[in-house]
């Protein structure tokens, strides 16, 4: 049986995943100036239950960006080495902000689907209500 509300479950899974993504983005932005911080990435996976894909999405395990850390010249920094360089973070603020926007848009799209599916379920019931 196709539940008119089965789409809401998938939309909720999308919203949850986007929320996790936004959390990692905010961690990255908060640590943009932390020396030695590596940018966190989150990969989405299809949710699998009993060996079958349910159609829902989950946020997979966090990975760290392998990109090289930039070497910043500042001899007065406590972490500076003999040449006066220290490793900064490989967070690019512009990339993070763009990613945050994308997460927000994706969240909105899921929200629309949620609302649409709820309205459809309710409209179906209107048929027998009259």
């Amino acid at each position: 049986m196709t539940d008119p509300l089965s789409a809401t479950e998938l939309a909720i899974s999308g919203m949850k995943s986007q929320a996790v993504r936004l959390r990692h983005i905010s961690e990255n932005i908060a640590n943009a100036d932390t020396p030695g911080y590596r940018r966190k990435l989150v990969a989405f996976h299809q949710q699998v239950e009993f060996g079958r894909a349910t159609g829902a999405v989950t946020a997979g395990p966090t990975r760290l960006d392998r990109r090289e850390l930039p070497r910043i010249h500042d001899p007065s920094h406590p972490l500076a080495d003999d040449q006066g360089y220290y490793a900064g973070s490989n967070v690019d603020l512009i990339v993070e902000i763009a990613d945050a926007k994308e997460a927000g848009r994706s969240y909105e799209a899921n929200l629309r689907i949620f609302e649409q599916s709820r309205q459809m379920g309710s409209a179906l019931l209107d048929l027998i209500r009259r």
Binding site: L5, F114, R129
Partner: protein, 92 residues
């Protein structure tokens, strides 16, 4: 001529036909149990959201599900009551 005695016996004979059936059909009982379970879940989700153990997403989802379940139950109840009233209005 109809005497009170005959009327009483006729009524006694006709009584089984108008007596309510034993219990509810299986489908209705199951649907009611399902409905109660959905309502229980939304209670749990609401309490969980207050204590912080349930995610807001889950709460919204269970509320949406409970809303549709309640609308379904109300719509079916209205139909049943309407059918009953239709029977009552039947000319005898």
């Amino acid at each position: 001529m109809i005497s009170p005695m005959i009327a009483a016996t006729a009524y006694d004979r006709a009584r089984p036909a108008i007596a309510p059936a034993e219990g509810l059909p299986q489908g209705v009982t199951n649907a009611a149990a399902d409905f109660a379970r959905v309502m229980e879940q939304v209670d749990l989700a609401a309490a969980g959201a207050m204590t912080g153990s349930t995610e807001t997403h889950e709460l919204v989802h269970s509320i949406a599900r409970a809303e549709i379940a309640l609308e379904t139950a109300v719509a079916i109840r209205d139909k049943v009551v309407e059918a009953y009233q239709e029977i009552l209005r039947m000319p005898v």
